[in-house]
């Protein structure tokens, strides 16, 4: 059956629809096992104590104390039962997701087998809505505002546009939005608020899984905590983080730990020089048009750093002196205001520290977190919607796309009932307003065969149309009376000339 993806392919493509609920079930099972183990152990001990009490003391006092013990144990059993109810509800919810998804893909198979275009497009529309919800759940702002439930209750769970869309589409069981929202919340905490707490608590919960995959996320989160403390001027906290956390990773992250130690010395200067650099850049923009030899500049920076630490000038070796002379001769560099400005802005070799202290650190940490988070659930790191847009645009993009629209005879606009639309408006999705810009960067589709219309006829203007539709247009023009046209005449809708049916030249495009 043509190129419609098979059900097995769709299941492979959407493995996360089943693997995520399984991972969540496994997580719930672990919690359940932990609770069963500790609670039953406690209850077993309580029952043993009750048993020996009942065996050893059969006096009325003994019996009464056994009754009191039984009461206490029963309360524990009740508490355990309550926990179990929670586990059962969670398991039920996750199993319902799996069940609904099997049903959803079952419908795809039924639509595909039936060969009905309408059923298939309806299913794909739901699938597109699911991808839209996934994109919105990952990218929209998360709030915990109360949201009215269908049953009239009020939910205080985190929600965002994706979740609202999903619920209104009645597809909440088809997407694990809770997993996406959790990532979105931590991610927004990092990027928008520079808040490390949600990430740190997630790392604490998933420490063993992260260690298992050899992730350095914990180290980089601590590193960012250290950087944040330095930027806030909280040296005590910075030194505590350095001593308690970062030093313990020195064997695996030697370079980063040494950089952290260096930052302790340079942080303040980096921040102030960053400001100076921006200022100097503004003042000396015109003078800096000729680049300075990087080797000369590097050596000058070294000299300045040497002078900063040892309070004396750096001894210059003969080899370097000659290279500086040569470079200066070649570039005709003279110590000007430009050099001075550069030297001020690059007093120390602080570039690396500046980068570590910049906001890029948050972005890198966020990317690292998302990578770890999504790989834990085997979710695609990139939004599936964007992946499909990239593939879809390329598959549809022809060499005629994104060109200037055909200029139709303006008299034909009268045929459009809707005043906003124009005759022959291009409906190609690649050429549409919101996709044309991004489509420019994507490759064209590859065609090995022509894709044309039936009954091609050429008019003397050199335009080739479908003859049936050309005659149909003539009929519509005659019916509406927007211009006079006799029975055996047709209008070339582009150049506006009227031709006779005898002018039709049947074409044979191959």
């Amino acid at each position: 059956m043509d190129s419609t993806p098979s059900i097995d392919f769709m299941l492979h493509l959407n493995e996360q629809a089943f693997t995520i609920p399984h991972a969540l079930l496994a997580e719930a099972q672990r919690l359940h096992e932990k609770s069963v183990e500790s609670d039953t152990k406690q209850l077993r001990a309580a029952f043993l104590a009750l048993n020996s009490l009942m065996q050893n003391d059969q006096s009325i006092v003994g019996k009464e104390s056994a009754l009191a013990s039984l009461d206490a144990v029963m309360q524990d059993v009740q508490a355990f039962e309550k926990k179990l109810k929670g586990s059962v509800a969670r398991e039920g919810e996750l199993l319902r997701r799996i069940g609904k998804r099997i049903e959803f893909y079952g419908k795809y198979e039924a639509a595909r087998e039936s060969g009905k275009t309408r059923s298939l497009t309806e299913w794909y529309l739901n699938y597109t809505n699911l991808l839209v919800a996934d994109y919105l759940a990952r990218n929209s702002k998360v709030s915990t505002l109360p949201e009215n439930n269908a049953d009239g209750g009020v939910a205080l769970d985190p929600v965002n546009a994706g979740v609202v869309f999903l619920k209104q589409q009645e597809m909440q069981d088809l997407l694990d939005y809770d997993v996406l929202l959790a990532a979105n919340k931590i991610s927004r905490g990092l990027i928008d608020d520079n808040d490390l707490e949600p990430l740190e608590s997630w790392i604490a919960k998933n420490k063993s899984a992260l260690e298992k995959e050899g992730s350095s996320l914990e180290f980089y989160a601590s590193f960012q905590r250290y950087v944040q403390a330095l930027l806030n001027g909280n040296m005590t906290l910075a030194i505590t983080v350095l001593q308690t956390t970062l030093f313990s990773h020195i064997s695996t992250h030697f370079d980063e730990v040494t950089a952290a130690c260096g930052m302790l010395v340079y942080a303040e200067k980096c921040v102030s020089s960053q400001d100076n650099a921006e200022e100097t850049q503004n003042h000396t923009n015109d003078e800096l048009s000729t680049p300075v030899d990087p080797t000369v500049l590097q050596q000058r920076q070294r000299e300045n750093a040497f002078e900063y630490f040892f309070h004396r000038r750096m001894p210059i070796g003969p080899q370097y002196a000659s290279s500086v002379r040569t470079a200066s001769k070649q570039q005709h560099i003279h110590p000007t205001a430009r050099d001075t400005a550069l030297l001020v802005s690059n007093t120390k070799n602080l570039e690396r520290y500046k980068e570590l202290l910049s906001s890029k650190g948050w972005e890198n940490l966020n990317n690292m977190f998302l990578k770890s988070y999504y790989s834990m659930y085997r979710i695609a790191k990139n939004e599936p919607l964007l992946i499909y847009i990239s593939l879809g645009v390329s598959a549809l993009k022809t060499r005629s796309c994104l060109h200037q629209a055909i200029e139709w005879d303006p008299r034909l606009d009268a045929l459009c009932k809707n005043s906003r639309s124009k005759f022959g408006e291009n409906k190609c999705p690649v050429c549409s307003e919101h996709f044309r810009r991004l489509a420019e960067t994507l490759p064209f589709a590859h065609h090995t065969e022509s894709k044309l219309f039936d009954n091609p006829v050429m008019l003397p203007s050199g335009n080739i149309y479908d003859s049936r539709r050309l005659k149909l247009l003539a009929n519509v023009i005659r019916e509406t009376g927007i211009m006079p046209l006799s029975e055996h005449e047709v209008l070339d809708p582009i150049d506006g000339d009227i031709y006779k049916l005898d002018d039709f030249v049947t074409m044979y495009p191959t």
Partner: protein, 494 residues
């Protein structure tokens, strides 16, 4: 040029198909086929599980030829449930056993209380045989209570452990025997041309347009200002996106609730403009919906009278309506049984049919695409993902590359129901798509080749050329530049 450079050029391409992969082959040499031609548009857990189960069982019955993978998923899902009539999971069994155990403890506690009361009432100084016997009896009962508590606690403990272990095993089994078969692709691996963040606003606008096109019907409100405010607040969609879809959305919203009046008004208002088959069909189905709605509240006689007097006669001979057989069945059922079975369900189905017909006609009349651009692109994306994944496999296993960065290395077969938005002409000589710089030229015999091919065959226009398809001889100077044009006529479907 990379290792595949000799395979490509105008003449060659990688041929991937949905079912198989063939080695790089020469492009199609025979006559090209014309393109084809978009359709329409914490509660009680046990009850949730059983409801899902019932639906799944029904579904299972429907799909007799279920795919093996889907079947495995279905049986994997089934294995989470144990028991005969009352299907429960092992965790639910734990809960049930704990509940039963607590009830048993409650009973034993009552016995213990009674035993203590009777012990207190018993005269300790009573040394008569009856007194001794009663004391012994109480002692025996006490021992029995103690034994029962001990035994039931041990049994419960074992049961909870057993169910927890089985639940764990079930999960592992589901993972190993079912999920491992599903895990196959890494979607990130085919995302070769990532969409830059600079187009984020464009993508979000496209999403906004998609939501405006399809989602108004699902909103909890209907009035225009409320919808506009809600769309702006929740989805950050600008009111301008809603303009062209507002009427469509409101009517669909009403139809969803079985209210046909606004759609009927629309369908009759436009009657004079276009008496197309689609609008006649829409009016016919709207009429049936109105009859079903009336059957809910009005007496049978009144509904029958309404049907007889208001039946839209123009639809009687329309193809697909089958001389109004549906209306005839409705009338027969009403008169013989005095009502209509599954009325609510029928209304939902009919409202759905009306929605589809209405959407189709509305879009056609207003020059709107049948699907949103986002939907059409995603649809193409899903279809083409098969080819991209197969190409990625070939690329990694055969260590081949593709050097033409601005064109895909394979031909993607898109769904037949997706129209060709632009005519694509492949020059039969050079096997390349014609462009503005290299337009198609008609030879004297009315066969068409590209400008580049014409120049090459005629040695730069200096010699006559024989048509590559027929014996007619043509001349470069007498060949005419042509243009293929798709002609869409407003209000007329293809």
């Amino acid at each position: 040029m990379g290792p595949l450079s000799n395979l490509r050029g105008p003449h060659c391409s990688l041929r991937l198909s949905a079912s198989g992969i063939s080695a790089p082959q020469k492009g199609g040499e025979g006559p090209a086929e014309n393109g084809g031609k978009l359709g329409t548009d914490s509660e009680d857990t046990t009850s949730i599980q059983s409801a899902t189960q019932t639906k799944l069982t029904t579904l299972h019955c429907i799909f007799t030829t279920m795919s093996s993978l889907l079947q495995e998923l279905h049986s994997g899902y089934d294995s989470f449930f144990v028991g005969g009539e009352v299907r429960e999971t092992h965790t639910s069994a734990c809960l049930r056993e704990t509940g039963e155990f607590r009830m048993q403890l409650k009973k034993l506690k009552a016995h213990l209380k009674k035993n203590i009361q009777e012990s207190k009432q018993l005269d300790v100084k009573d040394t008569s045989p009856e007194g001794k016997a009663a004391a012994k009896k109480l002692q025996k009962r006490y021992a029995l209570i103690q034994d029962k508590i001990h035994k039931s606690s041990t049994t419960w403990d074992h049961a909870v452990k057993k169910h927890t272990k089985l639940s764990h095993q079930n999960l592992n089994k589901f993972n190993k025997s079912t999920l491992n078969k599903i895990r196959k692709y890494d979607m990130d691996s085919i995302y070769n041309h990532p969409i830059s963040v600079e187009y984020k606003n464009d993508v979000e606008d496209a999403i906004g347009q998609h939501i405006a096109r399809y989602h108004i019907r699902n909103l909890p409100m209907t009035s225009k200002p409320e919808v506009e405010q809600y769309m702006k607040q929740v989805f950050n969609i600008h009111a301008s996106f809603l303009d062209q879809f507002a009427e469509l959305g409101y009517i669909l919203h009403e139809l969803k609730d079985g209210k046909y009046e606004s759609c009927w008004k629309w369908a009759t208002e436009t009657e004079n403009n276009n008496n197309s088959r689609c609008i006649i069909l829409l009016r016919y189905h709207l009429f049936i919906l109105s009859c079903l709605e009336r059957a809910k509240a009005e007496p049978v006689a009144a509904v029958c009278e309404y049907i007889i007097n208001h039946f839209p006669k123009e639809s009687f001979f329309q193809k697909g309506i089958n001389f109004g057989s549906e209306i005839a069945h409705l009338l027969a059922e009403l008169t013989t049984t005095g009502g209509i079975a599954n009325l609510e369900k029928l209304i939902v189905v009919k409202a759905g049919e009306c929605s589809l017909l209405f959407t189709q006609e509305f879009c056609l009349r207003n020059g709107l695409p049948m699907g949103s651009p986002l939907f059409q692109i995603v649809l193409s994306g899903v279809y083409s993902s098969q080819y991209f994944l197969k190409y990625a496999q070939i690329k990694s296993s055969a260590h081949v590359g593709w050097t033409t960065s601005n064109e895909l290395p394979f031909d993607v077969e898109l769904p037949k129901f997706l129209p060709n938005f632009h005519p694509v002409f492949i020059c039969p000589v050079l096997k390349e798509e014609t462009t503005d710089d290299n337009p198609p030229y008609a030879l004297l015999c009315h066969h068409i080749i590209s400008k580049n091919a014409l120049t090459k065959l005629s040695n730069g226009g200096t010699t006559s050329i024989k048509c590559p398809y027929c014996p007619v001889v043509s001349f470069s100077g007498r060949s005419q530049s042509v243009r293929f044009v798709n002609l869409d006529i407003p209000g007329v479907s293809k």
